[in-house]
Symmetry: C2
Subunit: 330 residues, 2 copies
């Protein structure tokens, strides 16, 4: 299909959808998903035509204790295989590895020994040289590799240009535009995507987008770049840290590629997600748009203060806004 023919009725066949529910949602409930939940989501994703399912992090066991988290903080090969076997399906398996918080050299196996397809390296701007080492390591081991530059709403233009140039020279297949703080408006996302795309096109890479819903703009920001990006992250019911992510239901409802099917995701919501959501609400581990997240989004701040505010059952929004201003560091 000619790119110029892409409109709200047609589709781009090169678009890939990644389900990040267990990984980003794991930040809500400490990765305490039952195997039944993860397995049902795996089958729902296959039936829905989703392209990638992110199972969690490859976190360092020297930094994090196994007993403090569910298995998807670590994504050991045998844990993933307990769910997917040899993954005899078109759905690809992804894991995330944070720069500085992973023993990637030992914990990321050679591809021939793993059902994982895609290694997603997550880096802050000042860590990019280490990120590139991780990218090259994963590429040499045989994986598809993507890289997320986090908290980019805090990065100045010069640093971002330099970072993008370095990543353009790396072996990464995809460079992700990540709105960690839900701080961007669609017109900013559009301009940023153009900058990412310029680097990516020169070096044969693709651009991805991972949005947060602080200002209820995760879906809007995602579809804003539907003609620029190729990899689109979403989570079921928007489950993810703080305000959460772009809703998978919305994204699949928008995309026109016949291979996508919303019904299995809705079925999964009815039979698994509603119960998890209720349990999370009982435990005070909620996610989704709320005023405190709106405020951290507007102020381009990490959502941790808003998560704390809600966990303490506070509703004094005006005081919270003032506290944010006191700590405002642009």
């Amino acid at each position: 299909m000619n790119e110029n023919d892409v409109n709200l009725i047609s589709y781009r066949p090169d678009i890939r959808v990644l389900d990040a529910t267990v990984r980003d949602g794991g930040l809500v409930n400490n990765f305490a998903f039952t195997d039944d939940f993860v397995r049902s989501l795996y089958h729902a994703n296959i039936a829905a035509g989703v392209d990638y399912m992110e199972f969690g992090y490859k976190a360092s066991k020297t930094i994090f204790k196994r007993e403090d988290f569910g298995p998807w903080k670590f994504c050991d090969e045998e844990d993933i295989r307990r769910i997917v076997g040899d993954n005899d399906s078109p759905l690809k398996i992804a894991v995330m590895a944070d720069v500085g918080r992973t023993d990637y050299k030992t914990d990321i196996l050679p591809k021939k020994d793993s059902v994982i397809d895609l290694v997603r390296v997550a880096t802050y701007i000042h860590q990019i040289p280490t990120a590139i080492e991780m990218i090259e390591d994963a590429k040499e081991k045989g994986y598809e590799v993507s890289v997320n530059i986090m908290a980019v709403s805090k990065v100045n233009d010069e640093d971002l240009n330099n970072g993008l140039r370095l990543l353009g020279q790396s072996s990464a297949d995809v460079i992700y535009l990540v709105d960690s703080f839900g701080a961007f408006y669609p017109e900013q996302i559009r301009r940023l995507a153009d900058r990412y795309l310029e680097v990516a096109e020169k070096t044969g890479k693709k651009v991805g987008i991972h949005a947060h819903n602080n200002q209820q703009l995760a879906f809007a920001n995602t579809i804003e770049v539907v003609q620029k990006a190729s990899y689109f992250d979403a989570t079921v019911c928007g489950m993810g840290r703080g305000a959460g992510n772009c809703f998978m239901e919305s994204l699949l409802g928008f995309l026109k590629n016949p291979k996508y099917n919303l019904a299995p995701i809705m079925y999964f919501v009815e039979h698994h997600m509603l119960a998890l959501k209720e349990e999370c609400e009982k435990n005070g581990t909620v996610w989704g748009y709320d005023i405190p997240y709106l405020l951290t989004g507007i102020m381009n701040s990490h959502p941790s203060s808003a998560i704390k505010f809600l966990k303490e059952n506070r509703t004094d929004y005006v005081k919270f806004a003032n506290e944010l201003l006191d700590n405002f560091q642009g």
Copy 2:
């Protein structure tokens, strides 16, 4: 300020914000707001620098029984005055009148006898000749007048052009772009706003926007036209029929005019809206994004079926989607 200087840091001083909480929210709870709630919202709006507060409908008492609704279905002069006195404030008072459901000739008083400032005529495309009679009646009585063309996502291009041309020749001050079914994506809203603006600019009128949140795009669609429209509707906590509206908190957090102040609205949420929301949830009269509204939005359908689905505590989304397809009439 030069229009070309408008960006995410500057502002357009001619922008007007209208709080539609009691009117659109009244469709959720049958206008059963306490006087204390409405009075507190009135004072919050004044403190927040909001330009207009819509109190409700001017509904016909021959069609609707007084005892079936709260007072804001009818907005009698003495009811509004019980809240605002002579409205000694910069906040203007608005009411809505639906074509065919209002005794506007008798129930809309001459402006000199009323604290109302703005009469909002709501019309479907086939009712425009009657809408124009109502517009002229309100204008002759001395009011500011706006007109909402409802359900425009169901209207073909030819009819919309003809309707806009007629309204362009009327005495209305503002023509509102209304996404009744939450069916539009930002790029569609942008193109539609251009068509409205073309008519409005030729005839000295302004354009307004009233969005619904079925696809979590109400805020995104609203700010998409921030350089085109002049009147922006929002409601506190997005309260409104079905999926609700653009959140006032988001809109005020986005606009940069120093006269707007988010704090009084947040204070109002804490002290009044949270309790109302809890009460509504107990009564099963909820609002806000949910999968059934996403589906009616995607399918460009009236939200009534989704409201019914949720009222019946159903969660069989896949079946509901199929029911919508069965009844799909484009």
